[in-house]
């Protein structure tokens, strides 16, 4: 098969993995080498679905020994199969990189022959890029569950990021859709990577020169909507992963029907709004100081599709509002709908000089249309007369639900770091 045809097949097979971020690493170029990593991450183009392309995201091969029902590469699927040689991947990566098409490589693979064999192939590519080609751009690889610790560690010393995809958020779901996988098999490499990162940080305190281990950290992906698992279950798992496994990111991928197995739900479209709500909640956990239990509970295990999780939280806790914009501390400002991380910082900065009026907030870029119900400026309230949550809810939904009905997906990593990076650089 021609390399071009392999590329088509193995890009197709990789595209349902949503992670494409190139952030979090500050690897610098070496003498005579090619490439470096940009800590904020860089997007190189956007596809027709509006997602950013930052890395060359391909599978080594889509020949798979597993038969997971949700997966397009399952062994029972009648599908064109292909496999790259390590040299082919190295050549495409280097030549794409020189033309500034990409930030680096995201190499994943179906499980070919055995987990160890597959991981060893990935190692071949990464070693050649780093040691033969002197390539110092960003590399993200998948750790294949079941591969030996020794190979995973060898790879980890050469790459910027590693990930293990959990895909299905509960054991029951795994049993149903991926009977050859178990929770233990998936979590084992994750804790292995986590422990190696911690050990490496300790080592680097003593010996600055010891090589970094997975400096951009590890991530995972969860599939949304292939199983009946609630948002609460997913968000609790997410919280546990951030706290217990020090994950850098959890990605959510709305299930795109790739099979008509009776074990899968009959979906016409991927549940994109639900996916978006989970990303919003994920942001609230990581940057806004929220906990999963504040956002959802057993009585309300799923997010309201008509309203974002932060607004929803504020309306359920309407007794905490309105807050005075000139007095509230940073953490409370962050909890106001319409005020984000950037806006909160700006408010704190600007109010040092003079107390802020409602007009000032507009100028600072606060979404006052939303924030007005929840704040006062020098004691004056600009929302509606009563602090009735139902009334405010109807006001907010009227204004947003229709325009938001269209698919909104602007929560991807690079976009965000772009905003933050924009402030810092």
């Amino acid at each position: 098969m021609e390399v071009l045809d392999k590329l088509k097949v193995l890009a197709d097979a990789a595209k349902y993995d949503v992670s494409c971020s190139s952030s979090g690493s500050n690897r610098s170029n070496k003498k005579g080498g090619l490439g470096n990593a940009s800590p904020a991450g860089i997007c190189h183009t956007w596809t027709d679905d509006g997602r950013c392309i930052s890395l060359l995201k391909i599978l080594m091969t889509n020949y798979c020994i597993y038969d997971c029902i949700y997966c397009v590469n399952r062994s029972s699927n009648d599908l064109l199969r292909a496999a790259f040689t390590p040299d082919e991947i190295v050549d495409i990566t280097i030549n794409f990189y020189k033309r500034n098409y990409i930030e680096g490589l995201f190499l994943s693979s179906a499980v070919y022959k055995s987990p160890n064999y597959t991981m060893e192939m990935i190692y071949q590519v990464v070693r050649k890029l780093r040691e033969v080609e002197n390539f110092n751009g960003y590399i993200h690889v998948k750790a294949i569950p079941g591969a030996d610790q020794e190979i995973v560690e060898r790879v980890g010393h050469l790459v910027d990021r590693m990930s293990v995809n959990i895909e299905l958020p509960t054991e029951e779901s795994l049993k149903l859709l991926a009977p050859q996988k178990t929770k233990e098999k998936i979590l084992k490499p994750m804790s292995l990577i986590k422990n190696s990162i911690i050990r490496n940080l300790e080592e680097r305190k003593k010996f600055r020169s010891s090589p970094k281990f997975v400096p951009a950290g590890q991530t995972t992906q969860l599939i949304i909507g292939a199983t009946p698992d609630s948002d609460l279950k997913i968000l609790r798992l997410t919280e546990g992963l951030y706290k217990g496994y020090n994950l850098k990111r959890v990605y959510y991928s709305a299930f795109v029907p790739v099979s008509n197995s009776p074990k899968l739900p009959a979906l016409k479209y991927p549940p994109l709004i639900r996916e978006n709500r989970l990303y919003q909640a994920d942001w609230l956990l990581r940057f806004y100081g929220f906990e999963a239990k504040e956002l959802l509970d057993e009585e309300r295990p799923d997010f309201d599709l008509n309203l974002d999780p932060k607004c929803d939280w504020a309306l359920r806790n309407i007794h905490l509002f309105p807050i005075e914009i000139n007095k509230a501390d940073y953490n409370m400002l962050l909890r106001v709908p319409g005020i984000g991380v950037t806006s909160a910082r700006r408010i704190i900065q600007a109010r040092k000089f003079s107390s802020l009026t409602f007009d000032d907030l507009k100028k600072l870029g606060i979404v006052v249309k939303r924030a007005q119900y929840f704040i006062t400026c020098n004691g004056k309230h600009y929302g509606i007369k009563s602090m009735n949550d139902e009334l405010i809810r109807s006001k907010i939904i009227d204004k947003t639900s229709l325009s938001e009905g269209a698919i909104q997906l602007s929560m991807f990593d690079n976009h965000h770091s772009n905003q933050i990076g924009g402030l810092l650089t």
């Binding site: 071009l4 904020a40 956007w46 596809t47 679905d49 900065q349 109010r351 600072l364 698919i407 997906l409």
Partner: protein
């Protein structure tokens, strides 16, 4: 109405700032020579660039105000937007009065105006770090053409000199006819136009074809969202992309 007119360089602009303070004048705008529009009612004062004076202003901004302010002023200059000379002068008048605290004073109109312009330039620069496309020429030189809103070639060059330190490359703003040249050691910016057709490396087409195929295959049909794509990457930037 008095306009100060300078040669278009940053040194020229800073010289104008120097003169405005030194002469205790308040020009209504500071404009580069090539942007000057004929207007009977405007009195034009041509200021000769003096690098000693500009260096003084540069240092004073750094010391008396802040590095952040120097960056904002420089980026506002690169924006080439109308009235940016006037806005910079206003900003610096305030800055010399209140010092470093100007950085955070975003509720002030003068500060916010410059901050906004500077952010626009920063954003475009960041976008181009990603969407710049090099073509390999037959002599192994990497050549990229771009048409940015703002004059950002000089902001892109340091990034690529780190990243592609072992290549020869040219980043060419074909709108302004300037380019950054890098020879594996250092980069310089010069006026530049191309008369002849570029001769591409024999492999160039093959990799472009691969990139186009990759780009097409990455999109997920059932998630199609062209509006989001255009929000992230406005159409005015599509012209030099290989994949679209």
């Amino acid at each position: 109405m008095i306009y100060y007119v300078y040669d278009g360089t940053f040194d020229g602009l800073l010289t104008c700032i120097y003169e405005a303070f030194y002469r205790r004048e308040n020009p209504d705008d500071i404009v580069p020579m090539d942007k000057l529009e004929e207007n009977f009612l405007i009195q034009k004062l041509f200021i000769n660039t003096d690098t000693e004076k500009s260096a003084k202003v540069y240092r004073t901004i750094e010391e008396k105000i802040s590095v952040e302010s120097l960056k904002r002023v420089f980026y506002a200059y690169l924006s080439e937007l109308p009235k940016s000379g006037r806005n910079i002068l206003k900003y610096l008048r305030l800055g010399f009065k209140i010092g470093r605290s100007i950085d955070d004073n975003l509720a002030n109109d003068v500060v916010r105006t410059i901050d906004k312009i500077s952010n626009k330039v920063t954003r475009e620069k960041h976008l181009f770090l990603g969407i710049l496309r090099f073509k390999m020429l037959e002599n192994d030189i990497l050549y990229a053409a771009l048409e940015p809103e703002y004059n950002i070639v000089g902001l892109l060059a340091p990034h690529f000199s780190n990243r592609m330190s072992n290549e020869n490359w040219i980043i060419h703003d074909v709108k302004r006819n300037v380019a950054a040249f890098y020879n594996k050691k250092e980069w310089v910016i010069r006026d530049f136009t191309i008369e002849d057709r570029l001769v591409l490396h024999e492999d160039e087409e093959e990799y472009e074809e691969m990139w186009q195929a990759y780009y097409k295959h990455m999109a997920i049909e059932s998630r199609k969202n062209l509006r989001l794509k255009k929000n992230n990457m406005p159409m005015k930037y599509w012209k030099h992309l290989v994949e679209i």
